[in-house]
Amino acid sequence: MRQGLINEGAMGRNRVIRRLGSAGLWLNPVFAYFFLWAPILILVLFSFNESRSVASFTGFTLKWYSNILNNVMGAESAFSTEIMLNAFRNSLFVGTVATAISTVLGTMIALAMARGRFRGKRLLDGLLFLPVVIPEITQAISLAIFFKVVFDWVALISGERMFPGFHTIIAAHVTFNISYVAIVARARLADMNPQLEEAANDLGANPWQTFWRVTFPLILPGVISGALLAFTLSLDDFVITFFTAGVGTSTLPVFVYGLLKLTVTPEVNAISTIMMVLSTILIGISLAMQGRNASRA
């Protein structure tokens, strides 16, 4: 049906394309794809460059990669394999905990918004939408100031000084993740037939049984997608983590930022390439899982 419409519209479509300038319309994607891909490909290319220069490619080498693994870098460099691996572990820890909490909270609010009837739902809609649109830096500094104020009060009352660390990073990540989980889970709930729940109820299931036996299995793919999205956002976040991290709790992006700020070195190109490959694999796996879930549901 749809294919038919397109074919019938083909003549008109061709005319519009012609008018917009068929040459321009071909040049535009060529330029756009070049623009999107050239920086990444050049970054990868120069991670294999024999000389330290990024101006010309002189020969192939893997020495920058072996430098990373063997911890051989210039004396002035802040890099150490151990610190990098530690930052990676921190990232995984923060991501896992923040994802677990935000998935539960996000799914609960999605259920409440989809099925519940209570006052202030429109206001709640706005509250859920805000963390998505507010600039990261605003959220970052508001949390930084908030934790400082809270810690000052705690010190004043109990005499004990608290410091930012995993708890502050995780609290921050949960806060920005909730909205994303809720959006994804709500989309799934909206597709679900509410009569299934009514049927379960009519057949004598209590709300608890209805939820675990009917609702939850049906929205599970949405919950999993939301959790994967939250985990990805958590692993990727730099700005908010930068402002809420404490000593020794830097995540991988915060560590990488420290390296990038300093200088352009071949080792940094190599680390960037490794990170690109890793995140591509990670997202590839999550997409494959989502695909499986979607086809099963």
Binding site: L5, A32, E136, T138, T175
Partner: protein
């Protein structure tokens, strides 16, 4: 049945409560604190203290207005460039006849996006630096003898922002074009409209929701950008995000940083209002 509904009604608010409490503590309260702090004086070490003052807002709109306007200008320019590049690109993708070609062309837009934002921005440092790839290439060709200063300029920030947010423009427009029925073009032609008129009166209005959404999705994060100007802009490309960040270092000024944040949020809210208004007028709702 009514019993079931009633129970669910109660459950509804009960389910919402923990999340609402969380967001009130970790999202609303911090923003309220920022608002209060923005009216306080700067104490020793850059922290906030009484009495209340409007000085930080005066400075935000006074000596810092140049950076405020630069941020808005760069974000607007980023939006325009993304629209010019992204609109035809979205058409290109959605008019691929074979499904595979469509998926591949779309995938090629999304894939670079999976790389960490820091690394994607850093890649432009390699390209734009004085001893970078572009200068090396041009000098190698003999076109220039001295390197062009590309890095640490507003131009570099613009490139970085467009690079960072182009997919935000392409994807919503692509969704709009996908819904567009190309028979309307035939109808417009049959009714005597020329191509230009058909585009302006039929194609553009019907893909407007995607255009508006794309513009909002690009403009908002661009105004608040911090990483891009930080890595590519130097002092010449300083944006409001960097200015806010600088207030939280050693010689910082938290109340000033808070005031700048509130101003930035006001700009974002204003642009959201414009979006909602334009969208409503567009859909005629």
């Amino acid at each position: 049945m009514t019993n079931w509904l009633k129970r669910n009604q109660k459950n509804g608010s009960f389910l919402a409560a923990p999340t609402v409490v969380w967001l009130l503590i970790f999202f609303v309260l911090p923003l309220v604190i920022v608002l209060v702090v923005s009216f306080m004086s700067r104490g020793r070490g850059g922290v906030a203290e009484l009495p209340f003052t409007l000085a930080h807002y005066e400075r935000s709109f006074g000596i810092f207005s140049i950076i405020l306007w630069r941020s808005i200008g760069l974000a607007a320019l980023t939006t325009v460039v993304c629209l010019i590049v992204g609109y035809p690109l979205a058409f290109f993708i959605s008019t691929r006849r074979r499904r595979l070609a469509q998926q591949v062309t779309l995938f090629l837009v999304i894939l670079p996006f999976w790389t960490n934002f820091l690394i994607r921005t850093y890649a432009w440092r390699i390209l734009l630096g004085d001893e970078g790839t572009i200068n090396g290439f041009l000098i190698g060709l003999g076109l220039i003898s001295e390197p062009l200063s590309l890095l640490n300029t507003q131009f570099a920030v613009l490139i970085g922002l467009v690079y960072g947010f182009l997919p935000f423009m392409v994807l919503p427009i692509f969704a709009s074009v996908e819904r567009f029925n190309f028979r309307y073009v035939d109808a417009a032609h049959d009714l005597g409209a020329n191509d230009m008129r058909t585009f302006l009166r039929v194609v553009l209005p019907l893909t407007m929701p995607g255009v508006l959404a794309g513009c909002a999705l690009v403009f908002i994060p661009s105004v608040g950008a911090f990483v891009t100007p930080d890595l590519l802009g130097g002092t010449k490309g300083l944006m409001i995000g960097n200015l806010i960040n600088n207030q939280f270092g050693g010689s910082g000024n938290m109340p000033l940083g808070s005031a700048l944040s509130i101003v930035m949020m006001a700009v974002v809210m204003l642009s959201l209002l414009v979006y909602v208004f334009a969208n409503r007028r567009d859909t005629g709702a």
